[in-house]
Symmetry: C2
Subunit: 259 residues, 2 copies
């Protein structure tokens, strides 16, 4: 039987330890092709490269533990998926996995996430897709305790398929040993209380650094934030039909079509 | 009575004719403050500037028809909204409007839209927000036939409020005269059939230009694409809770927690 074809990408760039750990784990499940940004793309949201050239080349990052087929791309995570599907791959992948991101993409962070934009891009094309993130921003984060869950989730997705019109947003707590288990969750309500650190350049120009703190606004025990705080892996089925169907009725009562 | 405070932004940049038309129209409804990118940011999705400096300065673009208070910002549309709310404005705006974008943000385009990312950023902060787009990509598009609908929608939003957790994605057909009316819609299912135009640089490096055609995969007569094709303005209530609640039950039946 033909092994499943697994497209692997991320937003931290092709040399990121999180990506390399994901490649090692995916090689246990199928044939792996990597198409990933040549440099970090964090905070890029669902950006695509429309008015600029896109470079891509086959590369070898790691002779021993890398994938047989790896490509770096000058674009965003969404560009990588588009390029993989339209130019690089000669058959449709059975699944697309993105990550493992260095840092959380739970709650409202999904909106800003390059990791998830790659998964969503594949999902739009009808390909089962999952974004993985570890709640540890450091470059030398320990991905080992996460890998068993990653493998289990991808394996179940290959067996069961992913519900149509959805992709999975998986976040993994920072733990010394394996997480407590895996919980299917909803996206917690939360936002960022930004602070702008104002400075002045040597030439006298004011500029800002964006910093801030995440604020959880949701006491539910069925959210991704709750699961992560309890030491569980969170899995949120995430959709790209952004319609707030429940709000249509309300807006329909506005006086929009009177003269 | 105090006039409503209206924050205006966009993704085509502070000099874009679509933004200037929106400013003129909003001045009829309230006090306008503009915080917009200093250069075009199309296709930026919900990007934010995390590892780079952000410059912002007060500017005068148009003495006669501009707003009394305008700021340009070196960042993305989402950055502009964050900076406006945290640094520039001294009170919370009553509404945030983004656009008018030069080009459609209907159907799946909402995912890639910088115009909508600004509106969503404001929505996350609990501020009523609307993104406006005209289905005409040209820089010298005629915004005049759109302005009556824009004013009506903002005016109704100021009167009624926008349902909690949603922002409005408004698309306006390219018409000679006024559109036929305004329809509340759902996001049509569709995607892009990308083509990558492969070329070779003078130094022998391969590169690509991303092009493609939109493919509508939805025959519904309640979608934004349908309304626009019939000459109506489409209004889609759009949400930033991306949870596919209907899919949770299905994924809950996977064997994720067996040893």
């Amino acid at each position: 039987m033909e092994k499943p074809l697994i497209l692997v990408t991320n937003d931290d760039g092709i040399t990121a330890p999180g990506l390399r750990a994901l490649i090692r784990t995916m090689k246990e499940l199928g044939d792996v092709v990597v198409v990933a940004p040549d440099s970090p793309q964090s905070g890029m949201g669902h950006a695509i490269t429309v008015d600029s050239t896109l470079f891509s080349k086959q590369v070898v990052v790691d002779h021993k533990e890398g994938a047989p087929s790896e490509y770096s791309c000058s674009g965003t995570p969404a560009d990588c998926v588009k390029l993989a599907l339209r130019v690089i791959l000669d058959r449709t992948p059975d699944i697309c996995v993105s990550g493992i991101n260095h840092g959380s993409n739970s709650s409202i962070n999904v909106i800003y996430s390059g990791t998830m934009s790659a998964a969503i891009e594949a999902g739009i094309e009808g390909i089962p897709a999952i974004g993985f993130s570890l709640c540890d921003y450091s470059w030398d984060a320990n991905f080992e305790p996460a890998l068993e869950s990653v493998k289990k989730i991808v394996s179940e997705a290959l067996t069961n398929g992913i519900p149509k019109g959805t992709v999975l947003n998986v976040n993994i707590p920072k733990t010394k040993n394996r997480p407590k288990g895996i919980k299917i969750c909803r996206q917690a309500r939360g936002n960022w209380k930004e602070k702008f650190d104002k400075r002045t350049s040597p030439s006298g120009k004011d500029y800002y650094w964006l910093t801030g703190e995440f604020e959880l606004l949701d006491k539910g025990e069925d959210t991704d934030e709750w699961a992560l705080a309890q030491g569980y892996v969170s899995v949120v089925p995430t959709q790209f039909d952004l319609t707030a169907h429940h709000a249509i009725q309300q807006v329909n009562n506005w006086n929009l079509n009177e003269q």
